[in-house]
Symmetry: C3
Subunit: 113 residues, 3 copies
């Protein structure tokens, strides 16, 4: 199993979710986050004052899936969340050692489905 | 070390925390989250309108622990958070490579205790 | 690649961010969290009532970086976030298998920079 973690523009979530649902992927967790990307330490000037680049609100979407689902879901995330402008976000792939469904105590692939 | 991440019903947190405390487990981090499980893309009809299943509020509980504590804590989570109804949540086990206590710079098991 | 996850005092974030920016580290994600450390199950008495130790608000800071950046960033976090009092926080190091920039589809080190 892997965890796919995507940091996306919040306004892209509904499209992403619909696309995931259409291929049968339902299990996901979202968290409100904020961040900056590679425009690190960039400053701007606004009405004569220098200011540091703001933290932008982002949505963190986490999906634990089988290894063989990863590539397809990464493609769906890119297709759903890409605008071509800076700030479209990042996808991180994490190893997961075990998954357990609390209701049934099922583990592994049984618990993902 | 492992990170145990549990996505639970928020109303079960107090019970879980009390049970963990009673066996001496205190270190944990919580985050407000929302999600859906395997009822993916399910629709309902309410007063004539079709609607998509809602994202439900969940609590994410994260605990970094020694390997030999994992099985016992998983059992405590299941006992504390299971209602038997769908939506009881999931537990994910992640590998952790290092842990550092900021105050003392202790690492590894010393930093967990 | 690694993910450095730091659970810090919220009031230390601006200092941390400035120090990271000064060495060219810009990519990070923050989330509001709460937690307890090793003062597990501690109780206090206030105006005659026993109460359980509160969950304290913390900030979770996540940075995905190249392996060779980890030690330097850990040092910056400790220098920026340490007060010497209990509750300064924890740093967890996680393995990351892949990182993808959504805008360009770049992967690996190219996607971190
Ligand atoms: N290295 C990183 N570690 C953790 N989070 C990151 C990292 N890089 C980016 N993020 C998160 O992803 C969000 C979007 O980043 P962003 O898309 O701007 O990355 P970028 O590398 O600057 O790419 P682009 O050039 O397309 O803007 C940030 O606001 C932050 O929350
Ligand atoms: N594959 C997954 N990846 C990430 N988060 C998930 C996943 N599956 C479930 N979750 C999270 O766990 C929460 C509870 O899921 P839930 O218990 O409904 O899972 P389920 O597989 O549908 O089990 P049940 O049949 O008992 O309802 C969801 O709201 C979501 O936040
Ligand atoms: N084992 C753990 N797993 C997950 N989160 C933890 C763990 N230990 C601490 N945390 C998080 O880190 C925050 C700060 O912890 P804290 O610095 O008090 O740790 P500590 O081990 O008690 O160290 P100190 O003795 O310096 O207080 C907690 O509020 C919690 O959010
Ligand atoms: Mg950017
Ligand atoms: Mg469910
Ligand atoms: Mg403490």
């Amino acid at each position: 199993m892997k965890k796919i973690e995507a940091i996306i523009r919040p306004e892209k979530f509904q499209t992403l979710r619909d696309e995931l649902s259409s291929v049968g992927i339902g299990g996901l967790t979202i968290t409100e986050a904020a961040g900056t990307g590679k425009q690190k330490g960039q400053t701007g000037v606004f009405r004569g004052n220098t200011f540091q680049i703001q933290l932008l609100p982002k949505l963190k979407v986490e999906m634990v899936v089988d290894d063989n689902q990863v590539d397809g879901i990464v493609d769906i995330i890119i297709d759903s969340c890409r605008t071509g402008n800076i700030g479209d976000g990042k996808i991180f792939i994490h190893p997961i050692e075990e998954i357990i469904r609390i209701r049934t105590k099922e583990r592994g692939a049984e618990a993902v489905l």
